[in-house]
Symmetry: none
Subunit: 202 residues, 2 copies
Amino acid sequence: MSDKLTFRQQQVLDCIRQFLSDTGMAPTRAELAELMGFQSKNAASDHLRALERKGYVRLHNDRSRGIQMLDAALWPEDELPVVGKVAAGLPIEAIENVERSVPVPQGMFRQRPTYLLRVQGDSMKDAGILDGDLIAVRKSNMARSGQIVVARIDDDVTVKTLKLGNGSATLMPANDDYSPITVGADQLVIEGIFVGLIRDAV
Amino acid sequence: MSDKLTFRQQQVLDCIRQFLSDTGMAPTRAELAELMGFQSKNAASDHLRALERKGYVRLHNDRSRGIQMLDAALWPEDELPVVGKVAAGLPIEAIENVERSVPVPQGMFRQRPTYLLRVQGDSMKDAGILDGDLIAVRKSNMARSGQIVVARIDDDVTVKTLKLGNGSATLMPANDDYSPITVGADQLVIEGIFVGLIRDAV
DNA sequence: AAGGGCACTGTTCTTTTCGACAGTATCCAT
DNA sequence: ATGGATACTGTCGAAAAGAACAGTGCCCTT
Protein backbone atom coordinates (compact mmCIF):
# COMPACT_ATOMS: atom_id res chain seq x y z
CA MET A 1 0.00 0.00 0.00
CA SER A 2 2.56 2.52 1.08
CA ASP A 3 6.23 2.36 0.38
CA LYS A 4 8.73 1.84 3.13
CA LEU A 5 10.19 4.98 4.63
CA THR A 6 13.84 5.68 5.30
CA PHE A 7 14.87 6.34 8.88
CA ARG A 8 15.06 10.07 8.29
CA GLN A 9 11.70 10.16 6.54
CA GLN A 10 10.14 8.30 9.44
CA GLN A 11 11.58 10.92 11.79
CA VAL A 12 10.13 13.70 9.68
CA LEU A 13 6.74 12.01 9.67
CA ASP A 14 6.81 11.57 13.45
CA CYS A 15 7.79 15.19 13.78
CA ILE A 16 4.82 16.33 11.72
CA ARG A 17 2.47 14.09 13.69
CA GLN A 18 3.77 15.54 16.94
CA PHE A 19 3.43 19.12 15.74
CA LEU A 20 -0.07 18.44 14.51
CA SER A 21 -1.11 16.92 17.77
CA ASP A 22 0.36 19.82 19.76
CA THR A 23 -0.87 22.76 17.75
CA GLY A 24 -3.70 21.42 15.60
CA MET A 25 -1.96 22.55 12.44
CA ALA A 26 0.71 21.16 10.20
CA PRO A 27 4.16 22.75 10.32
CA THR A 28 5.44 25.04 7.58
CA ARG A 29 8.62 24.10 5.69
CA ALA A 30 10.56 26.52 7.86
CA GLU A 31 9.15 25.18 11.12
CA LEU A 32 9.79 21.62 10.07
CA ALA A 33 13.36 22.52 9.13
CA GLU A 34 13.92 24.11 12.51
CA LEU A 35 12.42 21.19 14.42
CA MET A 36 14.56 18.72 12.48
CA GLY A 37 17.64 20.92 12.72
CA PHE A 38 17.92 21.65 8.97
CA GLN A 39 19.64 24.85 7.90
CA SER A 40 17.58 25.01 4.76
CA LYS A 41 13.84 24.77 4.40
CA ASN A 42 14.34 23.05 1.11
CA ALA A 43 15.49 19.98 3.02
CA ALA A 44 12.01 19.91 4.53
CA SER A 45 10.47 20.37 1.10
CA ASP A 46 12.43 17.44 -0.26
CA HIS A 47 11.28 15.19 2.56
CA LEU A 48 7.70 16.24 2.11
CA ARG A 49 7.84 15.42 -1.57
CA ALA A 50 9.24 12.01 -0.68
CA LEU A 51 6.48 11.41 1.86
CA GLU A 52 3.89 12.38 -0.71
CA ARG A 53 5.42 10.14 -3.36
CA LYS A 54 5.33 7.22 -0.94
CA GLY A 55 1.71 7.85 -0.07
CA TYR A 56 1.97 9.01 3.53
CA VAL A 57 0.87 12.59 3.13
CA ARG A 58 -0.93 14.71 0.59
CA LEU A 59 0.50 18.11 -0.20
CA HIS A 60 -1.92 20.85 -1.13
CA ASN A 61 -0.16 23.04 -3.66
CA ASP A 62 0.28 26.69 -2.87
CA ARG A 63 -1.53 26.39 0.42
CA SER A 64 0.25 27.23 3.60
CA ARG A 65 0.57 24.34 6.02
CA GLY A 66 -1.02 22.19 3.35
CA ILE A 67 0.27 18.88 4.66
CA GLN A 68 -2.54 16.36 5.01
CA MET A 69 -1.73 13.18 6.89
CA LEU A 70 -3.22 10.21 5.13
CA ASP A 71 -4.53 7.15 6.92
CA ALA A 72 -1.35 5.22 6.33
CA ALA A 73 0.50 7.86 8.30
CA LEU A 74 -2.12 8.77 10.84
CA TRP A 75 -2.75 5.32 12.24
CA PRO A 76 0.41 3.52 11.42
CA GLU A 77 0.14 -0.28 11.25
CA ASP A 78 -2.90 -0.46 13.44
CA GLU A 79 -4.20 -3.72 12.11
CA LEU A 80 -3.22 -6.63 14.28
CA PRO A 81 -3.60 -10.25 13.26
CA VAL A 82 -5.90 -12.46 15.29
CA VAL A 83 -4.40 -15.86 15.92
CA GLY A 84 -6.91 -18.61 16.42
CA LYS A 85 -6.26 -22.27 16.98
CA VAL A 86 -2.53 -22.69 17.19
CA ALA A 87 -1.15 -25.45 15.04
CA ALA A 88 1.21 -27.67 16.97
CA GLY A 89 4.84 -26.84 16.51
CA LEU A 90 4.33 -23.77 14.41
CA PRO A 91 5.37 -20.36 15.61
CA ILE A 92 2.32 -18.67 17.01
CA GLU A 93 2.29 -15.95 14.39
CA ALA A 94 2.38 -18.34 11.46
CA ILE A 95 0.31 -16.96 8.62
CA GLU A 96 -1.83 -20.09 8.50
CA ASN A 97 -3.27 -19.23 11.87
CA VAL A 98 -4.50 -15.76 11.04
CA GLU A 99 -8.22 -15.71 11.59
CA ARG A 100 -8.71 -12.09 10.57
CA SER A 101 -7.27 -8.76 11.57
CA VAL A 102 -8.68 -6.09 13.80
CA PRO A 103 -7.78 -2.42 13.90
CA VAL A 104 -6.31 -1.55 17.30
CA PRO A 105 -5.55 2.16 17.65
CA GLN A 106 -2.23 3.40 18.93
CA GLY A 107 -2.45 4.06 22.60
CA MET A 108 -5.44 1.85 23.30
CA PHE A 109 -3.16 -0.25 25.46
CA ARG A 110 -0.25 1.15 27.40
CA GLN A 111 1.97 -1.53 25.93
CA ARG A 112 1.56 -1.92 22.21
CA PRO A 113 0.49 -5.49 21.44
CA THR A 114 2.05 -7.48 18.62
CA TYR A 115 -0.91 -9.71 17.92
CA LEU A 116 -4.26 -10.79 19.26
CA LEU A 117 -5.12 -14.28 20.44
CA ARG A 118 -8.54 -15.84 20.67
CA VAL A 119 -8.84 -17.51 24.06
CA GLN A 120 -10.05 -21.09 24.21
CA GLY A 121 -11.24 -22.53 27.50
CA ASP A 122 -11.88 -20.98 30.88
CA SER A 123 -8.70 -21.77 32.77
CA MET A 124 -8.18 -18.07 33.46
CA LYS A 125 -11.75 -17.12 34.25
CA ASP A 126 -10.96 -15.84 37.75
CA ALA A 127 -8.55 -13.38 36.13
CA GLY A 128 -11.42 -12.11 34.02
CA ILE A 129 -10.26 -13.86 30.86
CA LEU A 130 -13.14 -15.84 29.40
CA ASP A 131 -13.59 -18.31 26.59
CA GLY A 132 -13.81 -16.45 23.27
CA ASP A 133 -12.12 -13.27 24.50
CA LEU A 134 -9.44 -11.64 22.40
CA ILE A 135 -6.28 -11.03 24.36
CA ALA A 136 -3.68 -8.53 23.25
CA VAL A 137 -0.21 -10.03 23.41
CA ARG A 138 3.18 -8.39 23.19
CA LYS A 139 5.67 -10.77 21.67
CA SER A 140 8.54 -11.39 24.04
CA ASN A 141 10.70 -14.33 25.04
CA MET A 142 11.09 -13.17 28.60
CA ALA A 143 8.68 -12.42 31.39
CA ARG A 144 8.71 -11.56 35.04
CA SER A 145 7.15 -13.63 37.77
CA GLY A 146 3.52 -12.70 38.27
CA GLN A 147 2.82 -11.64 34.73
CA ILE A 148 0.17 -13.30 32.64
CA VAL A 149 1.96 -14.90 29.71
CA VAL A 150 1.37 -16.88 26.57
CA ALA A 151 3.67 -19.85 26.99
CA ARG A 152 4.50 -23.05 25.23
CA ILE A 153 5.48 -26.37 26.77
CA ASP A 154 6.46 -28.78 24.04
CA ASP A 155 3.79 -28.02 21.48
CA ASP A 156 1.07 -26.89 23.82
CA VAL A 157 0.28 -23.19 23.95
CA THR A 158 -1.57 -21.77 26.94
CA VAL A 159 -2.32 -18.53 28.73
CA LYS A 160 -1.41 -18.60 32.42
CA THR A 161 0.11 -16.54 35.21
CA LEU A 162 3.84 -17.15 35.41
CA LYS A 163 5.58 -17.88 38.73
CA LEU A 164 9.32 -18.27 38.64
CA GLY A 165 11.17 -20.35 41.25
CA ASN A 166 14.86 -21.15 41.22
CA GLY A 167 15.44 -23.11 38.03
CA SER A 168 11.77 -23.94 37.61
CA ALA A 169 8.69 -22.20 36.31
CA THR A 170 5.08 -22.66 37.31
CA LEU A 171 2.09 -21.80 35.16
CA MET A 172 -0.78 -20.86 37.44
CA PRO A 173 -4.34 -21.10 36.15
CA ALA A 174 -7.00 -18.79 37.55
CA ASN A 175 -9.66 -21.43 38.02
CA ASP A 176 -9.99 -23.96 40.85
CA ASP A 177 -10.82 -26.71 38.38
CA TYR A 178 -7.31 -26.58 36.94
CA SER A 179 -3.96 -27.38 38.51
CA PRO A 180 -0.69 -25.46 38.30
CA ILE A 181 1.93 -26.87 35.98
CA THR A 182 5.56 -26.79 37.08
CA VAL A 183 8.34 -27.42 34.63
CA GLY A 184 12.05 -26.75 34.37
CA ALA A 185 12.73 -23.23 33.14
CA ASP A 186 14.42 -24.71 30.06
CA GLN A 187 11.33 -26.61 28.98
CA LEU A 188 9.26 -23.43 28.82
CA VAL A 189 9.11 -21.08 25.88
CA ILE A 190 7.55 -17.68 26.50
CA GLU A 191 5.66 -16.58 23.42
CA GLY A 192 4.45 -13.25 24.73
CA ILE A 193 3.05 -11.18 27.55
CA PHE A 194 -0.59 -10.35 28.16
CA VAL A 195 -1.05 -6.62 27.74
CA GLY A 196 -4.79 -6.25 27.34
CA LEU A 197 -8.13 -7.74 26.50
CA ILE A 198 -11.00 -7.09 24.14
CA ARG A 199 -14.37 -8.74 24.59
CA ASP A 200 -17.28 -8.49 22.22
CA ALA A 201 -20.58 -9.19 23.93
CA VAL A 202 -23.17 -11.15 21.99
CA MET B 1 -17.00 25.70 30.45
CA SER B 2 -17.71 27.17 27.07
CA ASP B 3 -20.16 29.93 26.28
CA LYS B 4 -23.17 29.32 24.14
CA LEU B 5 -22.72 30.04 20.46
CA THR B 6 -25.01 32.07 18.26
CA PHE B 7 -26.56 30.32 15.26
CA ARG B 8 -24.12 31.93 12.87
CA GLN B 9 -21.12 31.11 15.05
CA GLN B 10 -22.24 27.49 15.21
CA GLN B 11 -22.41 27.45 11.41
CA VAL B 12 -18.89 28.85 11.20
CA LEU B 13 -17.62 26.23 13.63
CA ASP B 14 -19.26 23.42 11.66
CA CYS B 15 -17.76 24.84 8.52
CA ILE B 16 -14.26 24.77 10.00
CA ARG B 17 -14.77 21.22 11.25
CA GLN B 18 -15.90 20.12 7.81
CA PHE B 19 -12.96 21.78 6.09
CA LEU B 20 -10.56 20.26 8.57
CA SER B 21 -11.94 16.80 8.05
CA ASP B 22 -11.82 17.16 4.25
CA THR B 23 -8.40 18.69 3.83
CA GLY B 24 -6.57 18.04 7.08
CA MET B 25 -5.92 21.72 7.55
CA ALA B 26 -7.84 24.64 8.95
CA PRO B 27 -9.24 27.20 6.48
CA THR B 28 -7.70 30.63 6.02
CA ARG B 29 -9.83 33.71 6.67
CA ALA B 30 -10.39 34.05 2.95
CA GLU B 31 -11.41 30.43 2.47
CA LEU B 32 -13.75 30.59 5.42
CA ALA B 33 -15.31 33.76 4.04
CA GLU B 34 -15.87 32.13 0.69
CA LEU B 35 -17.37 28.97 2.19
CA MET B 36 -19.70 31.04 4.34
CA GLY B 37 -20.53 33.41 1.52
CA PHE B 38 -18.96 36.50 3.09
CA GLN B 39 -17.75 39.25 0.82
CA SER B 40 -15.13 40.27 3.30
CA LYS B 41 -12.59 38.10 5.02
CA ASN B 42 -12.82 40.32 8.04
CA ALA B 43 -16.24 38.81 8.72
CA ALA B 44 -14.44 35.51 9.14
CA SER B 45 -11.88 37.14 11.40
CA ASP B 46 -14.61 38.54 13.61
CA HIS B 47 -16.24 35.14 13.95
CA LEU B 48 -12.95 33.48 14.77
CA ARG B 49 -12.28 36.00 17.49
CA ALA B 50 -15.71 35.29 18.91
CA LEU B 51 -15.10 31.54 18.81
CA GLU B 52 -11.80 32.01 20.59
CA ARG B 53 -13.32 34.27 23.23
CA LYS B 54 -15.97 31.63 23.93
CA GLY B 55 -13.40 28.88 24.25
CA TYR B 56 -14.10 26.77 21.17
CA VAL B 57 -10.92 27.38 19.23
CA ARG B 58 -7.45 28.66 19.87
CA LEU B 59 -5.98 31.12 17.40
CA HIS B 60 -2.25 31.02 16.87
CA ASN B 61 -1.14 34.59 16.18
CA ASP B 62 0.61 35.31 12.93
CA ARG B 63 0.47 31.69 11.88
CA SER B 64 -1.31 30.82 8.70
CA ARG B 65 -4.25 28.49 9.22
CA GLY B 66 -3.59 28.78 12.93
CA ILE B 67 -7.03 27.68 14.04
CA GLN B 68 -6.85 24.92 16.63
CA MET B 69 -10.09 23.18 17.51
CA LEU B 70 -10.34 22.65 21.24
CA ASP B 71 -12.00 19.69 22.92
CA ALA B 72 -15.25 21.53 23.35
CA ALA B 73 -15.51 21.79 19.58
CA LEU B 74 -14.02 18.50 18.56
CA TRP B 75 -15.67 15.17 19.16
CA PRO B 76 -14.07 13.22 16.40
CA GLU B 77 -15.87 10.36 14.72
CA ASP B 78 -14.07 7.33 16.11
CA GLU B 79 -13.43 8.70 19.55
CA LEU B 80 -15.68 7.60 22.35
CA PRO B 81 -15.82 9.45 25.66
CA VAL B 82 -14.79 7.57 28.77
CA VAL B 83 -17.15 8.19 31.62
CA GLY B 84 -15.58 7.87 35.00
CA LYS B 85 -17.24 8.40 38.35
CA VAL B 86 -20.82 9.23 37.67
CA ALA B 87 -22.10 12.26 39.49
CA ALA B 88 -25.38 11.59 41.22
CA GLY B 89 -28.44 12.68 39.33
CA LEU B 90 -26.62 13.79 36.24
CA PRO B 91 -27.12 12.15 32.91
CA ILE B 92 -24.35 9.63 32.46
CA GLU B 93 -22.87 11.42 29.50
CA ALA B 94 -22.59 14.77 31.26
CA ILE B 95 -19.47 16.59 30.09
CA GLU B 96 -18.19 16.86 33.65
CA ASN B 97 -17.77 13.11 33.77
CA VAL B 98 -15.61 12.74 30.72
CA GLU B 99 -12.29 11.33 31.83
CA ARG B 100 -10.72 11.23 28.38
CA SER B 101 -11.57 9.75 25.05
CA VAL B 102 -10.32 6.64 23.36
CA PRO B 103 -10.37 5.81 19.67
CA VAL B 104 -12.55 2.77 19.09
CA PRO B 105 -12.50 1.60 15.49
CA GLN B 106 -15.72 0.96 13.65
CA GLY B 107 -16.46 -2.71 13.77
CA MET B 108 -14.37 -3.55 16.82
CA PHE B 109 -17.59 -4.53 18.54
CA ARG B 110 -20.54 -6.04 16.74
CA GLN B 111 -22.78 -3.45 18.33
CA ARG B 112 -21.40 0.05 18.11
CA PRO B 113 -20.98 1.45 21.63
CA THR B 114 -22.05 4.97 22.52
CA TYR B 115 -19.58 5.52 25.30
CA LEU B 116 -17.11 3.74 27.53
CA LEU B 117 -17.45 3.34 31.27
CA ARG B 118 -14.70 2.73 33.77
CA VAL B 119 -15.78 -0.09 36.06
CA GLN B 120 -15.51 0.41 39.79
CA GLY B 121 -15.68 -2.60 42.09
CA ASP B 122 -15.70 -6.33 41.46
CA SER B 123 -19.40 -7.17 41.68
CA MET B 124 -19.25 -8.64 38.18
CA LYS B 125 -15.95 -10.47 38.46
CA ASP B 126 -17.41 -13.90 37.68
CA ALA B 127 -18.61 -12.47 34.39
CA GLY B 128 -15.04 -11.47 33.63
CA ILE B 129 -15.62 -7.77 34.36
CA LEU B 130 -12.97 -6.56 36.76
CA ASP B 131 -12.28 -3.37 38.66
CA GLY B 132 -10.71 -0.79 36.35
CA ASP B 133 -11.91 -2.37 33.12
CA LEU B 134 -13.41 -0.20 30.42
CA ILE B 135 -16.78 -1.45 29.31
CA ALA B 136 -18.31 -0.45 26.01
CA VAL B 137 -21.91 0.61 26.45
CA ARG B 138 -24.64 1.18 23.92
CA LYS B 139 -27.04 3.81 25.18
CA SER B 140 -30.54 2.42 25.40
CA ASN B 141 -33.48 2.74 27.72
CA MET B 142 -34.63 -0.81 27.21
CA ALA B 143 -33.04 -4.20 27.69
CA ARG B 144 -33.95 -7.84 27.54
CA SER B 145 -33.76 -10.24 30.43
CA GLY B 146 -30.34 -11.81 30.69
CA GLN B 147 -28.42 -8.91 29.22
CA ILE B 148 -25.70 -7.15 31.14
CA VAL B 149 -26.85 -3.58 31.61
CA VAL B 150 -25.81 -0.25 33.03
CA ALA B 151 -28.73 0.66 35.24
CA ARG B 152 -29.70 3.34 37.68
CA ILE B 153 -31.78 2.99 40.83
CA ASP B 154 -32.38 6.41 42.28
CA ASP B 155 -28.97 7.97 41.81
CA ASP B 156 -26.89 4.82 41.97
CA VAL B 157 -25.40 3.57 38.73
CA THR B 158 -24.27 -0.05 38.52
CA VAL B 159 -23.40 -2.73 36.03
CA LYS B 160 -25.35 -5.96 36.53
CA THR B 161 -27.11 -8.75 34.70
CA LEU B 162 -30.78 -7.91 34.25
CA LYS B 163 -33.53 -10.42 35.07
CA LEU B 164 -37.06 -9.36 34.34
CA GLY B 165 -40.00 -10.84 36.24
CA ASN B 166 -43.61 -9.74 35.92
CA GLY B 167 -43.63 -6.13 37.05
CA SER B 168 -40.30 -6.38 38.79
CA ALA B 169 -36.67 -6.30 37.79
CA THR B 170 -33.70 -7.97 39.43
CA LEU B 171 -30.10 -6.87 39.06
CA MET B 172 -27.89 -9.95 39.42
CA PRO B 173 -24.27 -9.51 40.44
CA ALA B 174 -21.70 -12.04 39.29
CA ASN B 175 -19.94 -12.41 42.62
CA ASP B 176 -21.03 -14.50 45.62
CA ASP B 177 -20.17 -11.64 47.98
CA TYR B 178 -22.98 -9.51 46.57
CA SER B 179 -26.71 -10.00 46.65
CA PRO B 180 -29.28 -9.54 43.89
CA ILE B 181 -31.32 -6.36 44.01
CA THR B 182 -35.01 -6.57 43.13
CA VAL B 183 -37.02 -3.45 42.47
CA GLY B 184 -40.22 -2.49 40.76
CA ALA B 185 -39.71 -2.10 37.03
CA ASP B 186 -40.69 1.56 37.35
CA GLN B 187 -37.90 2.32 39.80
CA LEU B 188 -35.25 1.17 37.40
CA VAL B 189 -33.72 3.30 34.68
CA ILE B 190 -31.71 1.48 32.03
CA GLU B 191 -28.81 3.64 30.93
CA GLY B 192 -27.34 1.27 28.41
CA ILE B 193 -26.41 -2.23 27.39
CA PHE B 194 -23.02 -3.87 27.76
CA VAL B 195 -21.64 -4.56 24.32
CA GLY B 196 -17.96 -5.14 24.97
CA LEU B 197 -14.95 -4.77 27.17
CA ILE B 198 -11.44 -3.37 26.94
CA ARG B 199 -8.83 -4.17 29.55
CA ASP B 200 -5.39 -2.64 29.76
CA ALA B 201 -2.93 -4.80 31.66
CA VAL B 202 -0.45 -3.01 33.89
C1' DA C 1 32.94 4.81 -13.36
C1' DA C 2 28.55 6.30 -13.87
C1' DG C 3 23.96 7.09 -12.64
C1' DG C 4 20.40 7.38 -9.25
C1' DG C 5 18.35 8.02 -4.80
C1' DC C 6 18.98 10.32 -0.53
C1' DA C 7 20.03 14.19 2.38
C1' DC C 8 20.99 18.24 2.66
C1' DT C 9 22.72 24.11 2.03
C1' DG C 10 21.62 28.59 0.09
C1' DT C 11 19.06 32.04 -2.64
C1' DT C 12 15.36 34.43 -5.00
C1' DC C 13 10.77 35.35 -6.44
C1' DT C 14 5.77 35.27 -5.96
C1' DT C 15 1.75 34.27 -3.66
C1' DT C 16 -0.74 33.71 0.45
C1' DT C 17 -2.22 35.12 4.67
C1' DC C 18 -2.76 37.80 8.66
C1' DG C 19 -3.83 41.82 11.10
C1' DA C 20 -5.20 46.43 11.54
C1' DC C 21 -8.06 50.14 10.33
C1' DA C 22 -12.35 52.43 8.72
C1' DG C 23 -17.00 51.91 7.98
C1' DT C 24 -22.43 50.29 7.98
C1' DA C 25 -26.65 48.14 9.78
C1' DT C 26 -29.49 45.61 13.13
C1' DC C 27 -31.00 44.17 17.48
C1' DC C 28 -31.37 44.34 22.48
C1' DA C 29 -30.99 45.89 27.17
C1' DT C 30 -30.64 49.65 30.16
C1' DA D 1 -31.44 57.32 23.45
C1' DT D 2 -27.42 55.23 24.09
C1' DG D 3 -24.09 51.86 24.27
C1' DG D 4 -22.76 47.21 23.32
C1' DA D 5 -22.85 42.88 20.95
C1' DT D 6 -23.51 40.81 16.53
C1' DA D 7 -22.78 40.60 11.67
C1' DC D 8 -21.00 42.09 8.19
C1' DT D 9 -18.19 45.21 3.60
C1' DG D 10 -13.85 47.03 1.88
C1' DT D 11 -8.88 48.29 1.78
C1' DC D 12 -3.94 48.11 2.73
C1' DG D 13 0.70 46.88 4.13
C1' DA D 14 3.87 43.63 6.15
C1' DA D 15 5.10 39.22 7.26
C1' DA D 16 4.77 34.37 6.36
C1' DA D 17 5.05 30.65 3.36
C1' DG D 18 5.50 27.97 -0.89
C1' DA D 19 7.95 26.96 -5.16
C1' DA D 20 11.74 26.82 -8.12
C1' DC D 21 16.49 26.75 -9.08
C1' DA D 22 21.50 25.88 -8.38
C1' DG D 23 24.54 23.38 -5.86
C1' DT D 24 27.31 19.65 -2.64
C1' DG D 25 28.37 15.12 -0.73
C1' DC D 26 27.37 10.25 0.29
C1' DC D 27 26.15 5.67 -0.63
C1' DC D 28 24.56 1.89 -3.45
C1' DT D 29 23.80 -0.60 -7.61
C1' DT D 30 24.90 -1.68 -12.11
